[in-house]
């Protein structure tokens, strides 16, 4: 055989029996933080997601991420998350290269990711490699499984409010595989027997479907086609005896599709080329038929992305790993479409559409300078075009690691990020009413710079690791609604006027800084981690809070997560999580004064209530109220029973918030009941705390085959 070029040679082996001495295999696939240049990164094992106790047994990727330092949840039960002082829209969530715009079901109580179908989860909080861009605060990279090319296998999970099924296997053994998984709630079906038929029908459900096909053309060429479809729907239909009827629907959801070709040029050069489609849509419709008159109202908003990207990985020698690539995305935004049909007034059909282009090129190198020093320099150039406006930005990236000892390294990083699309949110809890909008000639891109410094220590013999990081991040041109504005205030439905969303937002600056520590054990019967975050997050807008600096809503000073998974045998899994977080900031009126009628000559219609003593509540400081500290303990146990032919049955029991802590969801101020005896009764306003999710047990059954 002449070896003058790369050859592929298939060698067939004849089976023969051989008696060997005992062989001990020690596998270690856990990441050693001291060996990696990249900092501010966390990888989650999908199997851990299955073991950690979850609300109503709905295993959730994003809820698991919230248990890591630097990644904080929003409101109680919400899957929205805030990374190092950022906001939910500053997190780039990608599923097989496709951007997912709204990652929430049921107002954030559950995420859209079905844990059964996930192969890997990687979260970047800082030190972003140049291949990532477009968001300021984090990148959550989720990859789906490719499917089992050797045998058909699957899983069925039945829970309290939803069930899921997964099936994967070969289409062409060894060459082509598929994986399909689906999930649907059935709360609406279960509730039907309890609803009076005369009240009509109504309910809520959500569903997900993941589908992927993976094919190997040759050792040098592989292709996959990965798809996601998800929907949430509230609906209500009523028909009355007199023939009148009304119908209301609220629907939202995502669609993503990625077609990716992986090509190996030679043993040093690889490429991935992807064609990607991503969609998010939110729609509200109301229809009344009353006395033969019809009223129909529909509003919708959405975003469509069409992307093409190519990435190259080049390994010139053992000391360099070079990556380069180019990406182009066409964004089609529809921030608002209103359709109104009414017998008593003119019909209204208005639509806002924003089309824009976003592109980037990047180059990065993971360079092992010496045995102790590693550098990862990178650069990304991004371009955004909206009509006649162009934004061109240079984004330098740098990460470095120095091994003081083989198991101890010092790390530092710098990254500059730009974000060209924004989420208008008045609640921060991931409502479907949140609007995605584009940078325009009036709304500049958001930018950030982040410096981070850290230490990583591995205890090889015990398989522990400790990382300690400090960060400082500045944010520019971040946007927020002006005071008194929200998406509900944007339109005057009676006149059909549509106020431009740009007139209702304002831009400002932000600062976020803090420290995180993560102590992790990744192998053995007992695994888990302890994370602690100390952080500050501030904002300043000229048009908010009278131009003064203020603490951001999700400025949580302390955040602690303790996660433990104990597997004494392959028949039991015990798990527990304990979390503590200091309160969010809210704006509540803390003062009241007398109304002063007649003090200004131009009168306005006063909405003030007749109140016994006409007073007006007010405050002079935004986010003046810090809520109470939240903490809870979740417990879980799983009973495994392995059966023949690789089948397994698992019963799971869990309790969410097991000591029934009444953690705050929102606060309100309401008038209390009169106190005392007539004619000397008094009444005072009270601060009320609304808590949800107090002591929620659940059970689920899983069957694997």
């Amino acid at each position: 055989m002449d070896l003058n070029e790369d050859k592929v040679l298939a060698v067939a082996l004849s089976p023969a029996a051989e008696s060997l001495e005992e062989v001990t295999v020690q596998a270690d696939n856990k990441v050693k933080e001291s060996k990696v240049t990249q900092m501010s990164t966390v990888r989650i094992n999908p199997l851990d997601i299955q073991d950690i106790p979850a609300l109503l047994s709905e295993k959730d990727v994003l809820k698991t991420l919230q248990l890591l330092p630097g990644i904080q949840g929003g409101s109680e039960g919400s899957s929205g998350f805030f990374v190092r002082g950022g906001t939910p829209d500053q997190n780039l969530i990608i599923l097989d290269d496709a951007t997912v715009y709204n990652s929430n079901h049921l107002f954030g109580f559950f995420s859209v990711f079905n844990g059964d179908a996930i192969k890997s989860v990687e979260a970047f909080k800082g030190g972003f490699p140049a291949r990532f861009g477009g968001r300021l605060s984090s990148v959550i990279k989720i990859d789906m499984k490719d499917g089992n090319k050797e045998r058909l296998s699957g899983k069925i999970n039945v829970g309290l409010i939803s069930s899921s099924a997964l099936l994967e296997g070969p289409i062409n053994k060894g060459k082509t595989s598929f994986i399909v998984s689906g999930r649907r709630t059935y709360a609406d079906v279960l509730a039907q027997p309890f609803l009076d038929a005369e009240d009509g029908s109504g309910g809520y459900y959500f569903g997900d479907l993941n589908f992927k096909v993976h094919h190997i053309f040759s050792p040098n060429d592989k292709i996959f086609w990965s798809n996601y479809f998800g929907r949430d729907k509230f609906y209500s239909n009523n028909e009355y005896d007199d023939g009148d009827s009304d119908e209301a629907n609220i629907i939202w959801g995502n669609i993503t599709s990625t077609l990716r070709w992986n090509h190996q040029f030679n043993n040093k050069l690889f490429s991935n080329t992807s064609l990607i489609y991503s969609n998010y849509n939110f729609n509200v419709s109301l229809e009344d038929n009353f006395d033969e008159n019809r009223f129909f109202f529909e509003t919708s908003s959405g975003i469509d992305d069409f992307s093409l990207k190519t990435d190259f990985d080049y390994y010139p020698n053992a000391r360099h790993t070079v990556r380069a690539g180019i990406a182009a995305t066409r964004h089609q935004f529809t921030p608002r479409r209103v359709l109104l049909e009414d017998e008593f007034s003119d019909n209204i059909d208005t639509e806002q559409e924003l089309n824009s282009f976003e592109g980037a090129v990047y180059l990065e190198d993971d360079w092992k300078v010496t045995d102790k020093l590693s550098l990862s320099p990178g650069a990304r150039v991004s371009l955004f075009n909206y009509r006649a406006t162009n934004y061109l930005n240079f984004e330098p990236r740098l990460a470095m690691a120095y091994n003081l000892k083989p198991d101890l390294s010092l790390k530092a990083s710098y990254s500059r990020m730009n974000q060209y699309i924004h989420l208008l949110s008045t609640s921060g809890i991931g409502l479907p009413t949140d609007l995605w909008v584009s940078s325009t000639d009036r709304v500049k891109p958001q930018t950030s710079q982040q410096f981070a410094l850290g230490v990583a220590k591995d205890f090889f013999d015990k398989d522990y690791s400790v990382t300690l990081e400090g960060y400082y991040k500045t944010l520019d041109d971040v946007i927020a609604y002006k005071e008194g504005a929200s998406f509900l205030a944007l339109d005057d439905l009676e006149s059909g006027r549509s106020v431009a969303w740009e007139d209702n937002i304002t831009s400002g600056k932000g600062w976020a800084y803090g420290a995180e520590i993560l102590l992790r054990k990744q192998s053995g019967p007992l695994t888990g981690w302890l994370g602690y975050t100390l952080s500050w997050s501030e904002r300043q807008f000229d048009e908010l809070n009278l131009g003064r600096k203020f603490f951001d809503r999700y400025d949580r000073r302390h955040d602690i997560s303790l996660v433990g998974i104990y597997k004494p045998s392959d028949r039991f899994t015990l798990s527990a999580t304990w979390v503590l977080a200091t309160g969010n900031n809210y704006t509540l009126p803390n003062l009241q004064r007398l109304e002063n009628p007649g003090s200004f000559p131009i009168a306005s219609q006063s909405f003030f209530g007749s109140g016994l003593v006409p007073t007006e509540d007010f405050t002079t400081q935004r986010n003046n109220f810090r809520g109470e500290t939240s903490h809870r303990l979740d417990l879980g146990v799983q009973f495994h029973k392995k059966k023949k032919k690789n089948r397994e049955r698992i019963w799971g029991l869990s309790v969410y918030n097991s000591y029934a802590r009444r953690n705050p969801f929102i606060y309100t101020i309401e008038e209390g009941d009169p106190v005392g005896e007539e004619p000397n009764r008094t009444v005072a306003k009270e601060l009320k705390r609304v808590s949800v999710l107090v002591l929620i047990p659940s059970i689920n059954y899983t069957f694997k085959f």
Binding site: F344, T426, L488, S604, E616, L693
Partner: protein, 295 residues
Amino acid sequence: MIRHLTFFLFLGWCSIGCIDTVDPDELLDVGEKTYIQSYLSPSDTVITVYVSKALPAVGTPLSFDNPESGFESFVIEDAQVVISDESENEILLPYDTETLSYRVDATEFPIREEADYFLNVSVNGRNYSASCSIPKKVSELTGTFTERPSGDGFSEVELNVAFDDLAGESNFYIVGAQVLVEQEEESFSFPLDFELDRFVSDANADGLTLGASTLYGFVDSNQEQEAVSLTLQVANVGEDLFQNLRTSYLNDFNDGNPFVEYSIAPNNIVGEDGVGVFAGYQLTEQEITYNPNDI
């Protein structure tokens, strides 16, 4: 039946939240403050300063059976209130029990355009101060009416009030109008509501024509209509006054809407635990006549 009921209760238990009353002491600033508000204008016949208590919104018991005693909880009757000008002329304002304010006739201390004024208030040994300038007056107002058919023979009438911005500086305006109704035995007027449009500023429009619109009403196109007199009003106000009125309007309008952030009240009172607004304004009024038959 019992199984269904148990299931329903279980679902309810999962979904319904708990509501508890919380002691605000360590969570919310519940200290009492002194509230001071005064708007000065050359067109006013009386100079008025309101000095009262700003009590904690939460936990302050007010009378349920006797509202007058509730007022007393807020009143400050023994403050010393002095207004002075750039030439150090000053006047002491006495307390008026009828209006619960400190006031003096404007003839005793004329307020002049583009002049600076200073307020000093002493309450229980605490001193508060503030200053303001009196802005210029808008010269001329224009009112135009636009009719649009609204069905069944009626027309919707919109009033637009327009004026020229005073160029070269940041300006804030409040727009309004009063409709005069003359009847045989008496006459009265009522204000038109410009809603949020009443708050106009010259941001990105310095020196241009500004304005605000509102729905005047509906007229029957098939019938002869009587002419109506209106008084158009535009006040050029200090920014703190503008924000104060706008904040009150927004918070009241959005009351109960969980999607809207609470608006922040301005404060230009200097002194510990002092809050409020001391500002100046100039009012321009113009009478016009609306004759529906002419449109």
